[in-house]
Symmetry: C2
Subunit: 170 residues, 2 copies
């Protein structure tokens, strides 16, 4: 099945002897800590994002939210996304525009990670590594730039699809 299946997490692929464990700090706690008002709908949306095993786009997020609150509106979804983005609590991804121009969101993890998107099957492989951290440090230092958000995405072909392509009829 195509689309946005995370087939490996950063903690699996990115772990080395020096790596810590990856976690997703609670969005709710962060919001509260910042004195941001928690409404019913915000709570709902935030929980969906926090708990989702896959990367959600605005439409999908709305769809899921509607299962629990039929009255919720598209604009509320976008406004909440904007709020979370503004607070640096979620990351925005394109996933190489595998299916259209929409954006995908995920709760920020305690360590940045990359996304590898398979053009053929749509699988998303997450990847974190000390090499990424080093590169960020280097960019910040040598570019004299205070990095607030980073996004590293790659498109290509996963192992399974490379194999499949070989054994396929022309």
């Amino acid at each position: 099945m195509r689309g946005n299946t995370i087939i490996a997490t950063e903690s699996q692929l990115g772990r080395t002897k020096n790596d810590g464990v990856i976690s997703r700090p609670s969005l709710m706690k962060e919001l509260i800590a910042r004195g941001i008002r928690i409404t019913t709908q915000r709570r709902l949306l935030v929980q969906i994002i926090q708990d989702s095993p896959r990367h959600l786009d605005a439409a999908k997020l709305l769809e899921i939210a509607k299962e629990r609150d039929a009255g919720i509106d598209r604009s509320t979804v976008y406004r909440t996304i904007g709020l979370l983005k503004g607070q640096g609590l979620i990351d925005e991804l394109d996933l190489m525009h595998l299916e259209g121009e929409k954006h995908y969101y995920e709760a920020k993890t305690n360590r940045d990670h990359c996304h590898l998107a398979c053009f053929r099957c749509g699988a998303i492989i997450e990847y974190a590594s000390p090499a990424f951290e080093k590169l960020k440090d280097e960019m910040a230092k040598r570019g004299d730039f205070a990095i607030r958000v980073v996004r590293l995405e790659a498109g290509g072909f996963c192992r399974r699809c490379r194999k499949a392509a070989h054994s396929e009829p022309a």
Copy 2:
């Protein structure tokens, strides 16, 4: 002035004793080598992209093209971008959505590089380094993934804007 000013090139920032020189292979030659038909308008668009010192979005590309061929249409611009993207001859960037959801394009360089986008002044700093190459290799190997396109973008604040922010009235 805000917006998309490249204030440092990868060859300046990314050079180390091990670095090679950065270059942009000719798009035209690549198209010819691939047996792709070169029409008047394609030639025009390709030259604009190739020669542009800044990252162009579709609308800007159209605007520039119209100065030389008033009849050229938006759809031709998008179709040509699609062609070049499909051939892997240009890279697509978001530049952290500094000004809207549009995409920016640049002729592919012989070495991948990152883009640092200043949220305040809009400057784009390009950055290439062996550490980036290493990270790509590592991802490909450990993720068992054949990378075709990579995009590393970061948002934050450049030195000048960090300074400016300090001396600003609250």
